[in-house]
């Protein structure tokens, strides 16, 4: 009888631990929180701030981490260069991997050689990406002091 109770208690503990494991994700967040939410944005990167567009969810289970990618949009190529007038130009090609037309909005921020903000922040630029098609997002800094950029993308509303 005592052995039976111990077995039941052990089973309950194991079950709750298993369920807790299923529920937890990276960095202490519970529920659906993408990896991108807790990452630091490095300079000269293009990030999705709308996690419905492109995200990675890692769920910890007793059998190891379960990785699930949600990909509606990807960035096939990206680059930066200086224009004839010395401005910093950043560009990226956005690939729509769904069967529906999408609108993506982009905003660029520019920083000087010390990575200090130049207060050069563009307005949201809307890019129309046809179903399974590709479109280009491009933005330029206001002057030749820009050395670094940070681009944020979200779904257009």
């Amino acid at each position: 009888m005592t052995k039976n109770i111990k077995t039941k208690v052990l089973a309950a503990v194991a079950l709750s631990a298993f369920l807790a494991g299923c529920n937890s994700t990276q960095d202490g967040y519970a529920g659906a929180h993408p990896v991108q939410r807790t990452q630091t944005n490095e300079m000269n990167t293009i990030v999705f701030i709308d996690h419905a567009l492109n995200r990675t969810d890692i769920t910890r289970t007793p059998f190891g981490d379960r990785v699930r990618d949600t990909v509606k949009v990807t960035l096939d190529r990206s680059g930066m260069r200086n224009t004839e007038t010395g401005q910093l130009e950043v560009w990226t090609t956005i690939r729509n991997r769904t069967d529906y037309d999408l609108q993506v909005e982009g905003k660029a921020m520019f920083f000087d050689a010390d990575q200090a903000p130049l207060m050069d922040e563009s307005m949201w630029r809307r890019v129309y990406v046809p179903a399974n098609g590709t479109a280009v997002y491009r933005e330029m800094s206001l002057n030749n002091r820009a050395q670094y950029f940070l681009v944020e993308l979200r779904e257009g509303r």
Partner: protein
């Protein structure tokens, strides 16, 4: 007796109707809130809105600054940017100065001397002051005197145009806007820079623009 009862009933009904008519709806309204003017707000229609004005002027400004014919000259060119030759041919109600003023101000700040802006809109004001100086009513100021005010090299021209569609069944309407900006060489009459901004919006439009 019957007539008396009818009279009493009529008076009672009139009194009750009168009481009901004095009710005033003074419930609290929605509190005023600040919104981000860079994106669509709570009230949206098919016309030109704050986010469109900010986006179009930002895009045109960056494009003009990337044109070497404008900003890479040995002597900074003089430019007039106002709404004198910028016309609204669209069905949207909009103050054109919101576009031209924002473009000029942000361009002036960003160009940092690479472009010189002539305030032709205020030419009369300048002429009056110059006249007072020349007649000796006031002194000559502290900076300098010139033979004449600045002549311009380039001037902004442009149009706001629209194309409207309406579904009479669903009452949905769609408006396509095309906003053009061009700089004219004021000696040769040639276009030295051109920019275009287009967008289309659809809504069941019951928004009034003022």
């Amino acid at each position: 007796m019957n007539k008396l009862m009818i009279l009493v009933a009529a008076v009672t009904a009139t009194t009750l109707v009168g009481c009901a008519g004095t009710r005033i709806d003074n419930t609290a309204g929605r509190a005023t809130v600040y919104e981000d003017a860079r994106q669509p707000g709570k009230i949206q229609g098919v016309g030109v809105e704050s986010q469109d004005i900010m986006a179009v002027t930002d895009q045109m400004m960056r494009d003009m600054l990337s044109n070497s014919m404008l900003v890479s000259r040995e002597v900074s060119p003089r430019v007039i940017i106002d709404s004198e030759y910028f016309t609204n041919e669209s069905s949207s109600r909009i103050n054109k100065n919101m576009l031209t003023d924002r473009l000029r101000i942000n361009l002036n700040r960003a160009a940092n001397g690479r472009l010189v802006f002539v305030g032709r809109e205020y030419a009369n004001m300048v002429e009056k002051e110059r006249e007072l100086k020349r007649r000796g009513v006031v002194d000559g100021g502290t900076i300098r005197t010139t033979a004449a005010t600045a002549g311009a090299d380039f001037r902004l021209v442009g149009r706001i145009m629209s194309l409207d569609k309406m579904d009479t069944g669903s009452q949905e309407r769609s408006r396509y806007h095309q906003i053009t900006f061009e700089l004219i060489d004021l000696e040769l009459g040639t276009y030295v820079w051109s920019g275009i901004y287009e967008f289309q919006k659809t809504a069941q439009d019951d928004v009034v623009y003022r």
